[in-house]
């Protein structure tokens, strides 16, 4: 039986490992989303936002700071793998607003008042709105005609993402596992 001590640097390693796993999850979700044909989406011009599932999971398992880092890493990697400079600007502005909304929720401590559905809809709206602002800067005021579609897309896609998040098991948020290795039959 080997005695194991929990080291203080263990926390940093753990954080690195968890954030990396969450970045992978977010990246995979982005990839799945990219494979869906554009014509199959009910509302043209707005993405499903599946990666938000991973970001929100990070925000409530770890911290908003972790969520910001995971979001940034995901955006950069997605851009490197299959993106154009315009998509980078769009994703960044969307991601910034999502982190802002999450920070606001944490600061006002109002997260317990919602379920993941409400929070997802808010994050989807924030993400889409961020993209709208980027489009506004790049192409001018004509994008404002997309606002109704934006509201509808945030509602529908946010609900989808939120339902999935609500269904995730509570164990995902449980971080109290000890890092000691358990041996059987020793």
């Amino acid at each position: 039986m080997l005695p194991m001590k929990t080291l203080s640097s263990d926390k940093r390693v753990r954080r690195l490992a968890e954030d990396s796993a969450l970045v992978c999850a977010a990246l995979l979700l982005s990839f799945v989303e990219a494979v869906i044909p554009i014509a199959a989406l009910p509302i043209p011009g707005f993405k499903l936002g599946l990666a938000n599932i991973a970001i929100l999971l990070t925000a409530y398992r770890c911290s908003v700071g972790d969520a910001a880092v995971v979001s940034l890493a995901r955006i950069l990697l997605t851009f490197l793998f299959f993106g154009s400079p315009t998509s980078l600007i769009f994703s960044l502005s969307g991601g910034i607003l999502v982190v802002a909304v999450l920070t606001l929720l944490k600061l006002t401590k109002s997260s317990p008042k919602f379920s993941f559905i409400g929070i997802s809809v808010l994050c989807a709206a924030a993400h889409n709105f961020g993209q709208l602002i980027a489009a506004l800067a790049l192409t001018g005021h004509a994008v404002l005609s997309y606002l109704p579609a934006l509201a509808a897309a945030s509602l529908i896609y946010g609900t989808l993402t939120g339902v999935i998040l609500n269904a995730l098991p509570d164990r995902l948020y449980n971080k109290s596992q000890s890092t000691k290795v358990r041996y059987e039959n020793s």
């Binding site: 554009i38 014509a39 043209p44 011009g45 409530y60 154009s84 315009t86 769009f90 109002s110 997260s111 317990p112 008042k113 919602f114 379920s115 993941f116 559905i117 409400g118 929070i119 809809v121 808010l122 709206a125 489009a135 790049l138 192409t139 001018g140 004509a142 994008v143 005609s145 997309y146 606002l147 109704p148 509201a151 509808a152 945030s154 509602l155 609500n166 948020y173």
Partner: protein
């Protein structure tokens, strides 16, 4: 930590967004109506076209080749080189205020609000 079931705050968010949606649609409906002409804004400039002439417009903007078709008083994007293809799936627009946008191509097709084609100077870019 958020709750696991739908809460009252969730409903408030839903109702709020639906209310905003309703207001936006109302405004679009009121100021809408069939347009008479539309403008195409590319990286090079803006041009006006009439919605009553059935034509096909081919142009290159920001390196992307786009084909626009005007048919039966509505304009739509037939084909595009851009990586996104949202513009193609946007369908046809015909009411004033509606727009089709291709961000990689920096292209904006907008149905002009009211007025007449003769109000604008024709700048063919």
């Amino acid at each position: 930590m958020p709750q696991k079931r739908l809460t009252r705050a969730d409903i408030i968010v839903f109702v709020g967004i639906i209310a905003i949606l309703a207001c936006l649609l109302l405004r679009a409906f009121i100021s809408g109506g069939a347009g008479s002409y539309f403008t195409v804004t590319t990286a090079d400039g803006t041009a006006s076209y009439s919605l009553s002439d059935d034509t096909t417009i081919d142009l290159d903007s920001n390196g992307v080749h786009i084909s626009i078709s005007v048919e039966n008083g509505a304009v739509s994007v037939v084909s595009s080189d851009c990586p996104d293809l949202t513009c193609q799936n946007s369908g046809a627009i015909s009411s004033s205020g509606e727009a089709i946008i291709c961000v990689p191509a920096k292209l904006v097709i907008e149905i002009a609000k009211g007025g007449d084609a003769s109000d604008e100077d024709f700048i063919i870019g």
